[in-house]
Amino acid sequence: MIEKYIKTFNSFRTPLLQSLWETLDMMLAAMAAALAIGMVLGFVMFMTGAGGIYRNRTIYFITSGLINITRSVPFILFIIVMIPVNRMILGTGFGVDASKIPLGLIGISLFARFTEQDLLDVNKSIYETSYALGANIRQYFTHFLLREARSSLVLSFTSTTVSLLSYSTVMGIIGGGGLGYLAISEGYYNFNYELMWIIIILMVLIVHGIQTVGNYIAEKLDKR
């Protein structure tokens, strides 16, 4: 039985590598967007939300609302709805690059919400502490908020990454390819169950790897 799996693995080595690359390509773009834009939006929500230092209901309502909409539309429908947007931005609605747009948006939304929650978990008196010690607003962010929230942020980013991996598996419907698509199209629809299981195990290993790295970094950073 094992031999059958090895044989399948060997004969599908090229498409497997190709798909793995497609998955990585989509993931890295979405992760970068989540980190850069999602974190900023998380800070914006934290600062404009209840108890924030720049309380602003309008900005909070709009940011939070957009994030809720992105997260609540069933992802497969979200991908379809985004096709015209992809076309507008990239000139094409399909392919790996087009997949980065919906995946990036979901990554931004997830990590923005995580960031907001992580910042809310930091001791409430930290703004006052920073003020009393003579910090300006920029120093409040860098020396106080970020420093105390950093390990939670790493764990949140790890969770975001794992979620993105699972979201990336359905990108096949707009030609995004990736490991998930290979498992479904070649493995399931083409009755190649060995290939399907190889990919499932591969995905489990990837998730496990991501989580282990995230936990390790978070633990190193957390001295509280």
């Binding site: 010690l133 910090a135 106080f144 420093r147 390990s151 001295k223 509280r224």
Partner: protein, 252 residues
């Protein structure tokens, strides 16, 4: 910083509050928490603010360092008017000790002590030497590299005290500095504050609900009731009496 006509010379008053009022929205309703307070704190004084929970004493303290802005009246710190433009500069001449210590858990002991200097000009070699001196002054020389989570409450408060001293503040605000500590630790912290007041001539403003704490160190005390000062009393501090549990029970 141009303080123009608001610059006032007022002798020995280091802190001056003139007809200060503040409203908070509590449960959607506008409530006056500070009601026309006139107050001054002199140089080298240890000034106490006592009162029940909700009497406004902590709000007064936070107005004195500019964290909370009054709705009416004016506050002068070191003869300069405290407002939105001046507060971030003026607060640098002061420091604060909190009930919950408010140390940063991701920094070790000496990094916590050095934090205020990092927020100013950056950490210089002199600052590190000074931080070591202060840690020895508060009795924590051996804990330079220790993590905050491994310290006791009293040790944490001593780190916080070293942190306030690193910038040579003219005023130290203390918000219930001993409330989270047991009797013996409280005594040590109060003794330390008294020493600081004497050796560095630092003015101290202390909020506490513990009458014993106030009586032992303060030279003057304002009693707060419903946002007003109901009584302003001069004390001759009877000194800090070390109390162990044994002594406390046997002395009666």
């Amino acid at each position: 910083m141009n303080l123009g006509r608001d610059y006032l010379v007022a002798g020995d008053n280091l802190i001056r509050l003139e007809k200060v009022s503040k409203d908070f929205f509590i449960g959607g309703e506008k409530t006056r928490v500070i009601d026309g307070v006139d107050l001054h704190v002199d140089k080298k004084e240890i000034f106490g603010l006592v009162g029940e929970t909700g009497s406004g004493k902590s709000t007064i303290l936070r107005m004195m360092n500019g964290f909370i802005e009054p709705d009416e009246g004016s506050i002068y710190l070191m003869d300069k008017v405290l407002n939105r433009d001046s507060r971030r500069e003026l607060v640098k001449e002061t420091s604060m000790i909190f009930q919950g210590f408010n140390l940063l858990g991701n920094l070790n002991v000496i990094e916590n002590v050095l934090l205020p200097t990092r927020l100013r000009k950056g950490i210089l070699k002199d600052n590190v030497d000074r931080a070591r001196e202060l840690l020895s002054f508060v009795g924590l020389s051996d804990f330079e590299e220790a993590h905050i989570r491994n310290l006791s409450g009293g040790q944490k408060q001593r780190v916080a005290i070293a942190r306030t001293l690193i910038t040579n503040p003219r005023i130290i605000f203390c918000d219930e500095p001993t409330s989270a500590l047991d009797e013996k630790m409280s005594y040590e912290i109060l003794k330390l504050l008294k020493d600081i007041n004497e050796s560095f001539e630092t003015t101290i403003v202390m909020v506490s609900h513990d009458i014993g704490v106030i009586k032992s160190v303060c030279s003057r005390v304002a009693v707060m009731e419903d946002g007003r000062i109901s009584e302003l009393i001069s004390l001759s501090p009877k000194g800090i009496i070390p109390v162990s549990y044994k002594e406390a029970f046997l002395s009666d």
